[in-house]
C-alpha cells in the first residue's frame, strides 16, 4: 500500500481551471473522500491521480515514486468507475481475471486469486453471467472484484455508488467500508453525497470551484467548517448562518431584542478579527440550539417538520432570517407562536462576512 502525494497539481481545460493548484497527501491505508458539488474538480483530481487525465502542471508521487507523467498502467492503482465499466463481452469470471491475464499471470495464480476475491465479495453465483444480466449492485461488486484482484497500491473510486438505487447504496456503502477495514488499502473516494462522505471517510477533502475548501475528519468539517461554503454544504439542513453585527461582547442578531452575549473566550478573537466594522456571521448547527422558555433569542415558528426521531423547527428571527433548530419529536409548536432558544456556547461559530472564512478561537491566546 502506498502514500499518494499531490504537489501543486493543476488542471486547465483551455482557460478554464478544472482544478486549481492543490496540495494533498493521502497517507498509507487511509480512506480519503473527495467531496463537493458536481463540477468542483473532484473527479478530475481523481483521474489525474490515476493517470487517465494528464496534469497541466504539478507533480504526483506514489510512495516517493514520481508518477506524474506515467501511463495509468505504470502506476499500479485500481480505479472503480461510476458506471462500472465492465467488459460487456466477457463473463464475470473473465472480467475479474482480466487484469491478471493482462499481466500474463499463470493459470493457477489467476484461478487462485480470482477465487479469493470471489469468496471475499460472495459473488460465486454470478461467475458465469455477463455484466448486462446483473443488477447495478452486483455489477459494482464485480467492478470491485476486478480492482481487488490486482492487489494494487491504491484504490481510486469515482462515485461507485452513484448509479445504484437508494436502498442498495447503503448496504454497498457498508460493504466498501468493511473491505477497507479488512484490506486496509489506501483509498481515494469521490462523492457528492455528504452523508456518504461523513460515514466513510477517515478524512474528507471538501472541494468547490476547483479548489480545496477544507481537509479534515468528519467531525472537523461538520463542527468546525473552514468557511461558509463548507458550513452550508455539509449537513442537511446545513449550518445556520445568521448575518449579525458585533460590538462590545454583544452580537445583535436580526429581530427586535435578539442580543446574544458572546461566550467569554470568543471576545478577544472576535474583537481582533472584526476590528471595528462589526459585521459578523453567526453559525450554529440545528442540534446545537435548544428551545427553552427563557432563551436569550426569540423568533416565530415558521414550519415544523417531523423527522421521526426529532422535529426540525424553522424559526423566523426576522423577515428573511430563518434558522433551523432541532426539537423534541413530541412537542408541538403551532405555526406562528413565539419561541425562545439558546445556542450551546461551545458550539457557536463565527465567520467573517468579508472573507467568508471562519474566525478561529485559538488564533489569539
Amino acid at each position: 500500500m502506498a502514500t499518494i502525494e499531490l504537489r501543486q497539481v493543476e488542471k486547465k481545460f483551455g482557460d478554464l481551471h478544472a482544478v486549481k493548484p492543490l496540495d494533498l497527501t493521502i497517507h498509507d491505508g487511509e480512506f480519503v473522500v473527495l467531496l463537493g458539488p458536481s463540477g468542483c474538480g473532484k473527479t478530475t483530481t481523481l483521474r489525474m491521480i490515476s493517470g487517465l487525465e494528464t496534469v497541466t502542471s504539478g507533480e504526483i508521487y506514489l510512495d516517493e515514486r514520481k508518477v506524474t507523467w506515467l501511463n495509468p498502467s505504470e502506476r499500479d492503482i485500481a480505479f472503480v468507475f461510476q458506471l462500472f465499466a465492465l467488459y460487456p463481452h466477457l463473463t464475470v469470471r473473465q472480467n475479474i481475471a482480466f487484469p491478471l491475464q493482462a499481466q500474463g499471470e499463470s493459470r493457477e495464480t489467476i484461478n487462485e486469486r480470482v477465487n479469493e476475491v470471489v469468496d471475499l465479495l460472495q459473488i460465486e453465483r454470478l461467475l458465469n453471467a455477463r455484466p448486462s444480466k446483473l443488477s447495478g449492485g452486483d455489477q459494482q461488486r464485480v467492478a470491485l472484484g476486478r480492482a481487488l484482484v490486482r492487489r494494487p497500491e491504491a484504490f481510486l473510486m469515482d462515485e461507485p455508488l452513484g448509479a445504484l438505487d437508494a436502498d442498495f447504496r447503503e448496504s454497498m456503502r457498508a460493504e466498501i467500508k468493511r473491505l477497507h477495514i479488512d484490506q486496509h488499502a489506501t483509498t481515494v473516494y469521490v462523492t457528492h453525497d455528504q452523508v456518504e462522505a461523513m460515514a466513510m471517510g477517515d478524512r474528507i477533502v471538501v472541494m468547490s470551484e476547483a479548489e480545496i475548501q477544507q481537509v479534515g475528519s468528519s467531525n472537523e468539517v461538520y463542527y468546525d467548517p473552514a468557511n461558509i461554503f463548507v458550513a452550508n454544504f455539509i449537513g442537511s439542513p446545513g449550518m445556520n448562518l445568521v448575518s449579525s453585527s458585533y460590538s462590545d461582547g454583544i452580537i445583535h442578531m436580526p429581530g427586535a431584542d435578539n442580543r446574544y452575549p458572546v461566550p467569554d473566550d470568543w471576545r478577544a478573537p472576535l474583537g481582533e478579527a472584526l476590528q471595528d466594522s462589526g459585521d459578523v456571521i453567526v453559525g450554529f448547527r440545528p442540534e446545537c440550539a435548544e428551545i427553552v422558555e427563557d432563551g436569550t433569542l426569540a423568533g416565530n415558528v415558521y414550519t415544523v417538520d417531523l423527522y421521526g426521531a426529532y422535529s426540525m423547527l424553522a424559526v423566523n428571527m426576522n423577515e428573511q432570517d430563518i434558522v433551523h433548530i432541532r426539537g423534541d419529536r413530541l412537542i408541538h409548536y403551532p405555526i406562528g407562536t413565539q419561541v425562545r432558544f439558546d445556542i450551546d456556547p461551545e458550539m457557536v461559530r463565527f465567520f467573517d462576512p468579508a472573507t467568508e472564512k471562519t474566525i478561529k478561537r485559538e488564533a489569539i491566546q
Binding site: N71, S73, F79, L86, Y87, H89, F98, Q101, R130, R146
Partner: protein
C-alpha cells in the same frame, strides 16, 4: 401558420363531404399504393424466379424455335457430374476466399487507421471510399489498362521498369512474361482495392461504437495495446465484421461485372468464375437456357447455405453477449 393549415384541412374535409366528389376509403387508398408495386415485383422478380426454376427442369434454348421440353433432373445431374463446372466452382471459391480474406484484413487496417484522430482523417476516409462508388465494369476496364505491361503503370509501381521482364498479369500478349495463375490474383487485387472500403466502413462504425471507458478500464488494468486489441477491440467489432464478411462472401460468389470487364474469364479459363460461366452458357453460343437456369439455382442454394452458416454463427454470438 398552424391556424392556416387547420383551416385548409377543414376546407378539405368539407369538400370531401360533397356528394359529387367520389370518396376513397382507407382500404382503397392502401390498395392503390400497394398493387402497382406488387404487380411490378411479381412481373420482374417473382415470375422470373419461378419460371427459371421451371426452365431448370427443361431442355430449352431461348433462341430456338421450340417449346421447353420437360426433362426432370437431367440438367442438375449433368451439371453436378460436369468436372469442368466443378473446376469453375473451385475457382470461384478460391476467388471468394482470397478476396474476402484480404478485404477483411485491409479493411480492418484502414478502419483502425482512420479511426485515429489526425489532420485530414475525414478527407482520407472519403477518398478511400471512392473505389466503391465507381461502376465495376469501368473499374475492370481501367485496371485492365493499368495491368498492361507496356503502357500500364501497375508494374512500374511495384518495381518493374522493363516491360519485357515484367509480369504480364492478364496475359495481354503486348509484352512481359505471363505467369500461370497470375490472372486470378490480378482480379483479386482489384476486388480488394474496390471493396476493402466497404469492410472499412462497417468496421469503423463498430470501432466508433466502442465506449472509451472500456479502454480506460483496460489501461487501469494494465493491459498492453496488443492485449487491448485482442480482448476488447476485436470482440467488440466482430459482429459488424462478420456482417461485412457475409455481404462480401455473397458478392464474391456472384462476382460478374468486374471480371467480365477485366478478363471475360480468361486468359484461358483462369478467371472463369461460375457466374461468368453461367452467363456464357445462357447468353453466348448455344444459349442453353434450361441448363443455365439449373446452374443458377445451384449457385443460389450454395449462397443461401453459406449465408445461413454465417447468420447462425452471428446469432450464436449475439445470444452470448
Amino acid at each position: 401558420m398552424s391556424i392556416n393549415e387547420a383551416q385548409v384541412s377543414t376546407v378539405d374535409q368539407e369538400m370531401k363531404k360533397q356528394p359529387r366528389r367520389r370518396q376513397l376509403s382507407d382500404r382503397s387508398i392502401v390498395n392503390l399504393f400497394i398493387w402497382p408495386a406488387l404487380l411490378l415485383l411479381i412481373a420482374m422478380n417473382v415470375f422470373p424466379l419461378f419460371y427459371s426454376l421451371y426452365l431448370g427442369f427443361t431442355d430449352y434454348s431461348a433462341i430456338a424455335r421450340q417449346q421447353p421440353v420437360w426433362v426432370g433432373f437431367q440438367n442438375f445431374s449433368r451439371i453436378l457430374n460436369d468436372e469442368q463446372l466443378w473446376k469453375y466452382f473451385a475457382t470461384t471459391g478460391r476467388f471468394a476466399l482470397l478476396s474476402v480474406g484480404l478485404q477483411t484484413l485491409v479493411g480492418f487496417g484502414l478502419a483502425m487507421l482512420v479511426n485515429e484522430k489526425f489532420k485530414g482523417s475525414g478527407l482520407l476516409t472519403t477518398l478511400i471510399l471512392i473505389p466503391m462508388m465507381i461502376s465495376p465494369v469501368v473499374v475492370g476496364l481501367f485496371w485492365k489498362l493499368m495491368y498492361n505491361p507496356t503502357f500500364g503503370f501497375f508494374n512500374y509501381l511495384i518495381g518493374f521498369t522493363n516491360p519485357s521482364t515484367a509480369p504480364d498479369w492478364l496475359a495481354s500478349r503486348f509484352a512481359g512474361t505471363p505467369v500461370p495463375g497470375m490472372a486470378l490474383w490480378a482480379v483479386v487485387i482489384v476486388d480488394v482495392w474496390m471493396w476493402s472500403p466497404f469492410v472499412m466502413l462497417l468496421v469503423l462504425s463498430g470501432l466508433k461504437a466502442i465506449p472509451d471507458y472500456l479502454y480506460e478500464a483496460a489501461a487501469i488494468d494494465r493491459a498492453s495495446a496488443w492485449f487491448q486489441f485482442w480482448r476488447i477491440t476485436l470482440p467488440q467489432v466482430t459482429p459488424l465484421l462478420l456482417i461485412a464478411v457475409l455481404f462480401r462472401t455473397i458478392e464474391a460468389f456472384k462476382a460478374f461485372d468486374l471480371i467480365m470487364g477485366m478478363t471475360g474469364g480468361g486468359p484461358g479459363d483462369q478467371t472463369e468464375l461460375i457466374s461468368v460461366n453461367l452467363y456464357r452458357q445462357a447468353f453466348l453460343g448455344q444459349w442453353r437456357t434450361g441448363r443455365a437456369s439449373a446452374l443458377a439455382y445451384i449457385i443460389l442454394i450454395i449462397i443461401i447455405a453459406i449465408s445461413n452458416l454465417y447468420i447462425r454463427y452471428l446469432n450464436q454470438m449475439k445470444g452470448e453477449s
